[in-house]
């Protein structure tokens, strides 16, 4: 590779590389969607050549057709809305519990000794293992699913809030205190802003897990939502709709993660001058 670069006459390969780099700088979103073109093409080719039986491996055309028909029937928008609403309700409840809890554990040694071990244990139990007993308690409904998402989002946010508070420079805390800040102002003006980059990282991780937990809950609880759409399609043996569900899930999460969460995380990190790596 190095030898090639020393070459005075750039080859086709190097030109391609340079062109790619330039494209990437000018239109990052366009460049990010480009690799999907050969993927979709090879998917289409494999399906068209019928390497696998068509019922098991439909092509992109079939998926697009089923998407159009499901949008037309109003099923897809409704299910999507259901899933997203559940995620938002669950995640915001989770964060509303997690941040105060994290501040408590991070600020008080006593709370830390008492709460930290159970926290680790319950994190290890994992959201999905709660599903059977939740079904007994709350039945097949919104409560069960919200509980699962709250549970999933809670732990990464708490753990990262604590981590963030621990990583605050103690000099800052001492300075604020010696300038006469009350406990409430300390939390509001020093601790929370200082821990914010970590809290954002925790939220991003938590949503990543929460998203998966939602799919599992929708598959198992099964009343509506994208997870239910996929599992219902599985029962009917319709690979087309399963693939459609996966693509919708992937696209949606990709957009949320790459265009909303990652920039926020980067912005808080940079704003606070804590660029990781």
């Amino acid at each position: 590779m190095i030898v090639k670069r020393a070459n005075p006459q750039p080859g086709l390969w190097n030109k391609l590389q340079m062109a790619w780099v330039r494209l990437h700088q000018r239109w990052p979103n366009l460049a990010a969607s480009l690799p999907f073109v050969p993927l979709v093409f090879s998917w289409w080719l494999t399906a068209w050549l019928e390497v696998f039986p068509r019922a098991f491996f439909p092509g992109p055309g079939d998926v697009v057709l089923s998407m159009i028909s499901l949008i037309y029937k109003g099923i897809l928008p409704e299910y999507l809305l259901d899933s997203v609403t559940r995620l938002i309700v669950g995640a915001s409840t989770g964060v509303a519990i997690a941040i105060p809890l994290g501040v408590l554990i991070g600020m008080s040694r006593r709370a830390n000794t008492v709460l930290w071990p159970p926290l680790l244990f319950f994190q290890a139990v994992g959201d999905i293992a709660w599903l059977p007993i939740l079904l007994i308690w709350f039945g097949f409904g919104l409560t069960t699913m919200t509980f699962v998402i709250v549970y999933t989002v809670l732990f990464p946010v708490v753990l990262n809030t604590v981590l963030g508070i621990r990583s605050i420079n103690p000099d800052l805390l001492r300075a604020a205190r010696s300038l006469g800040a009350s406990q409430a102002r300390m939390i509001w003006e020093v601790v929370l802003p200082g821990a914010l980059p970590n809290i954002m990282t925790g939220l991003r991780n938590g949503l990543g897990y929460g998203w998966r937990a939602l799919i599992a809950a929708e598959i198992i609880v099964g009343t509506s939502g994208i997870g239910f759409l996929m599992f219902d399609a599985r029962r009917a043996g319709s690979v087309v709709e399963i693939m459609l569900g996966m693509i919708v899930l992937g696209l949606l999460w990709y957009v949320v993660d790459a265009w909303i969460l990652a920039p926020i995380e980067r912005a808080t990190g940079e704003r606070w001058g804590m660029v990781t790596r």
Binding site: A31, V125, G250
Partner: protein, 273 residues
């Protein structure tokens, strides 16, 4: 670590270290024991219906019973075997592929949205299609674990390799490193901290995927044990299963994954905050 030359000092130091470790373990267990006491107290005080929440003794008995008739061991064995097979295949393909994609920067930036897209989907979302392709059972579940580990590890290996400074690679190349030496002495070690982080995240997804898949698609394993217990309202078996799942993951994470991560990040001098 301070070594004080003579043996007596060293062993005194070691025993001090042991004592500290035992103390922290005890402090770790006390709150959990407290939790069990509260559980026992609440259940006996309010006479909670065993269909809603079991008592401590009934869970203990269910545990003993399932240990003695061998079902618990079989369920745990099946789950761990699936995790082991899926993870091994995932690592064996994910690490080389991730590194290969990361070698040339332009190629890495081309592939990374693709791998990222699939690592976003990794795990649970594949359960429906996996059960159609492989049928219910070992194949489908192992596939779900495999792809949870594979995509996350490949993405992190790719990130790791592309974060190695170009100067380091140029230096190695100008010192005459061949292709093999480059891979095994520069790229792989340089990407290792990222790869290990990827393994830990991927295993986290895989573990959840395993439980979910076992609830849906098999007749053996911890997830299945939980889900059938629900059909008969056997809450003691459900709680037993949850405790076992929690302890297993805690053991896996604390004894295997966390030390691995600590060792690589420390060894590479990349201790973060």
């Amino acid at each position: 670590m301070v070594s004080s030359g003579n043996n007596a000092g060293l062993s005194a130091h070691n025993s001090q270290l042991m004592a500290a470790r035992v103390r922290s373990a005890v402090w770790f267990l006390i709150p959990l024991a407290l939790l069990v006491v509260i559980w026992a107290g609440v259940v006996s005080l309010f006479e909670v219906n065993p269909r809603i929440f079991p008592s401590v003794t009934s869970v203990w008995q269910a545990g003993l019973e399932s240990v003695f008739d061998g079902t618990l061991v079989r369920h745990i064995g099946a789950s761990l075997w699936r995790i082991a097979v899926g993870t091994t295949i995932g690592l064996a393909i994910g690490i080389p592929l991730g590194i290969a994609m990361g070698v040339v920067p332009a190629v890495a930036s081309f592939f990374s949205p693709l791998v990222r897209f699939f690592s976003v989907l990794a795990g649970i979302a594949w359960i429906p299609i996996a059960t159609l392709w492989f049928g219910y059972g070992f194949g489908a579940i192992t596939f779900v674990i495999f792809n949870a580990v594979f995509f996350v590890v490949a993405y992190n290996a790719l990130l790791g390799v592309s974060s190695i400074p170009m100067q380091v690679r140029n230096a190695a190349a100008s010192l005459g490193a061949g292709r093999m030496a480059m891979i095994f002495e520069v790229l792989l070690p340089g990407a290792l901290p990222n790869i290990v982080t990827g393994i830990r995240t991927g295993m986290g997804f895989a573990w959840r995927g395993l439980i979910a898949a076992e609830m849906i698609a098999t007749d053996l394993g911890l997830g299945y044990m939980l889900f059938t217990a629900r059909d008969f309202y056997k809450t003691e078996v459900i709680v037993l299963g949850m405790v076992v799942i929690g302890l297993l993951w805690l053991a896996l994470d604390r004894l295997l994954l966390a030390p691995l991560e600590r060792v690589t990040t420390e060894r590479w001098g990349m201790v973060r905050s």
